[in-house]
């Protein structure tokens, strides 16, 4: 049986100008993200994994190539349409957590729901449930600056889950964490992947992430390195 990919990128190219140098970050990458995937993008610094993830998450535009979401081409969408897709279909976990400092843990989790004009009571209930699911019950009213790195990343994961996304993109999610906390966070993401059926795309240097991944794509100098047979 062949699964229809949730996201299908074909011939994705992206280049940057860095000072006087033109950097070919992606040079025609083909990639599929399947429903309930736990996909790791690995490669050395500058290999293009973050660039690829930014394109898959509609945070950036490819110079060339196509990106299909549920079979629909996303390349012609305007900024508002892309924002709506990110809000409704994707979740994001950042290396540095990127929580909103003026919001409590629960409010950070509820923020994506606020963007959908969800009723206040529903927002609060969902935020409480998700914080409990990531092991932060009782921390609802705590501001991010009073949480540890691991707790902040849990809040970020709960926030990514708030709108029941199809895919969560996690950019180096363990890079800012100690190894013990990183293990816990990885276990949590894997658990949520199984329980909620949400796909995870993780860019990483961390071999522990690669070990837990269902699939691994290796990038080098902007191209996918074929897996050894």
């Amino acid at each position: 049986m062949t699964l229809t990919p949730l996201l299908r990128g074909r011939g994705l190219r992206r280049s940057y100008t860095l000072g006087a140098t033109r950097v070919e970050a992606l040079q025609g990458v083909d990639v599929d993200v399947l429903a309930s995937d736990f996909l790791a993008l690995r490669g050395p610094s500058g290999s293009g994994k973050t660039t690829l993830m930014n394109l898959l998450g509609l945070l950036d535009h490819p110079d060339a190539g196509t990106l299909l979401l549920d079979g629909e081409d996303t390349t012609g969408l305007n900024e508002n349409q892309r924002a709506d897709i990110r809000r409704d279909c994707f979740g994001f976990v950042f290396q540095t957590f990127n929580l909103i400092p003026v919001l409590s843990a629960a409010e950070n989790v509820a923020y994506p729901l606020l963007l959908r004009n969800t009723a206040t009571e529903t927002m609060h209930k969902r935020a409480r449930e998700l914080l409990a699911a990531v092991g932060l019950a009782g921390k609802e009213q705590v501001r991010p600056d009073l949480l540890s790195g691991g707790q902040r990343q849990r809040v970020a994961i709960a926030r990514a889950l708030a709108n029941r996304p199809a895919v969560i993109f996690a950019d180096e999610p363990t890079a800012s964490l100690d190894s013990r906390t990183a293990d816990t966070i990885l276990a949590l993401m894997k658990q949520l992947n199984r329980e909620y059926g949400v796909a995870f795309v993780l860019s990483t240097h961390d071999p522990r992430v690669v070990e837990r991944a269902d699939r691994v794509i290796t990038l080098h100098d902007g191209v996918v390195v074929p897996e050894a047979a």
Binding site: E79, N98, I100, V102, Y111, L114, L115, T120
Partner: protein, 407 residues
């Protein structure tokens, strides 16, 4: 959690910067409010001067008298003036009725003659309804049955006349003949416009009517009301009362007649508008710097919000709400500050020099004008919202990956 609470938390996030921005806005607000209050006092003073210079709140005359000057004495005069005055005085809203007879002539002391511009007045009514009697600096104001005149200081000087001197008044009657009466100088009035001072002469109405051989005639009738705000309605009602008594006269309110007041008002509003605009630009530029800093510091946060699905417009709106909220809070602080400063200035009793056309200085009494406060608040809120809008819009439209990589 809603936009306003999030905006407020962001304002309090960097207290020092918000206080600095708020301080600038509050200063701008206070400037607006105090200038508005001082201007209102000036307008009040000008209005009272205009009304008490003899215009009254409403004036009645032959319609032609409001359109052009008379070519001969009492060409547009009011006959049966007593009947008209009685009809007007019968109205309960009327405080004072001041009949006036205006004409030109020559005044002589025997040694020399000088032209004058005279007003025949009801001395008691003028004392009650106008400031003119208070201008008498030497001698005294007229009495109803006096055969006396009050001269402008300039006219007295030209005549070399003193209080108590006898003078002869010569004028052309409505039928074109010349007539003369003798009178005594009862007082000398201070008139602050030189040309007017050299022609000014006031005399009791009966004496003026005798000189012009025009019994029961006046040029116009000024009316002072108990309730000034209802001038237009009073003009209509009093006009109807006059009509019923058999006298048909046209009415004009003081606003239609006080050209000086209107001109000064337009001038003041122009100056205030210009200075207000400059102040607003200063507030805008001063706050634009701090809002730009605030937006720049939060570039990464903006990238995060956009990654989470916030549209650029929503992010811009969030910053605009922050700006507006800070403008509103600063305006509230500005209101309190304005009230305190107003109370302090008014309590200090600061004397100002006489305004143009007036002899007396005045004590500053800054008024609290709700409309000026509201306008100031609206201007400050708009300035801050605008100062937030441009940097926020730019940041919200920047590439998300650039925003997320911002350090």
């Amino acid at each position: 959690m809603n936009r306003v609470t999030i905006a407020w938390r962001n304002i309090t996030r960097n207290r020092r910067r918000s206080l600095l921005t708020g301080g600038i806005v509050a200063f701008g607000f206070v400037s607006f409010a105090l200038a508005g209050g001082f201007m209102a006092q000036s307008f009040d003073g000008l209005r009272n001067n205009a009304i008490k210079s003899g215009l009254g709140h409403v004036q009645f005359a032959d319609a032609r008298a409001f359109e052009r000057s008379e070519q001969s004495t009492l060409e547009f005069g009011i006959s049966a003036a007593d009947k008209a005055v009685a009809a007007l005085r019968a109205d309960p809203e009327v405080a004072v009725v001041m009949p006036r007879l205006e004409f030109y002539g020559l005044i002589g002391t025997g040694a020399r003659s000088v032209p004058f511009a005279a007003i025949g007045v009801d001395p008691a009514a003028e004392a009650a309804g106008s400031e003119i009697p208070k201008g008498v600096r030497e001698g005294q104001w007229l009495k109803p049955d006096d055969r006396a005149v009050v001269l402008g200081r300039g006219l007295a000087k030209l005549l070399n006349a003193q209080v108590g001197d006898s003078v002869t008044l010569l004028a052309t009657t409505p039928d074109g003949t010349l007539n003369a009466v003798d009178a005594t100088v009862s007082g000398i009035a201070e008139i602050f416009i030189k040309e007017l001072s050299e022609r000014y002469l006031a005399l009791p109405l009966p004496l003026a009517q005798e000189l012009l051989t025009a019994p029961d005639m006046v040029s116009r009738i000024s009316v002072v009301l108990h309730e000034p705000a209802r001038e237009p309605q009073a003009a209509v009602r009093l006009g109807a009362a006059l009509h019923q008594s058999g006298v048909d006269l046209a009415a004009r309110t003081w606003r239609e007649l006080a050209l000086f007041y209107q001109q000064v008002r337009v001038l003041y509003l122009g100056i205030f508008g210009f200075m207000g605009s400059v102040l607003l630009v200063v507030v805008f530029l001063s706050t634009a710097n701090t809002t730009l800093m605030s937006v720049t510091e939060r570039t990464r946060e903006i990238g995060t919000l956009r990654a989470l699905g916030a549209r650029p417009g929503r992010i811009t709106a969030g910053f605009v709400v922050e700006g507006a909220l800070l403008g509103l809070a600063s305006s509230l602080a500005g209101t309190l500050l304005s009230l305190l400063i107003t109370a302090a200035i008014n309590a200090a009793g600061i004397e100002m020099p006489p305004p143009p056309g007036s002899a007396k200085g005045f004590v500053i009494s800054v008024q609290v004008i709700p409309a000026a406060y509201l306008a100031a608040a609206a201007a400050m809120v708009a300035a801050l919202a605008l100062a937030s809008f441009f940097p926020a819009r730019r940041a919200a439209r920047a590439p998300i990956v650039d925003s997320l990589a911002h350090v």
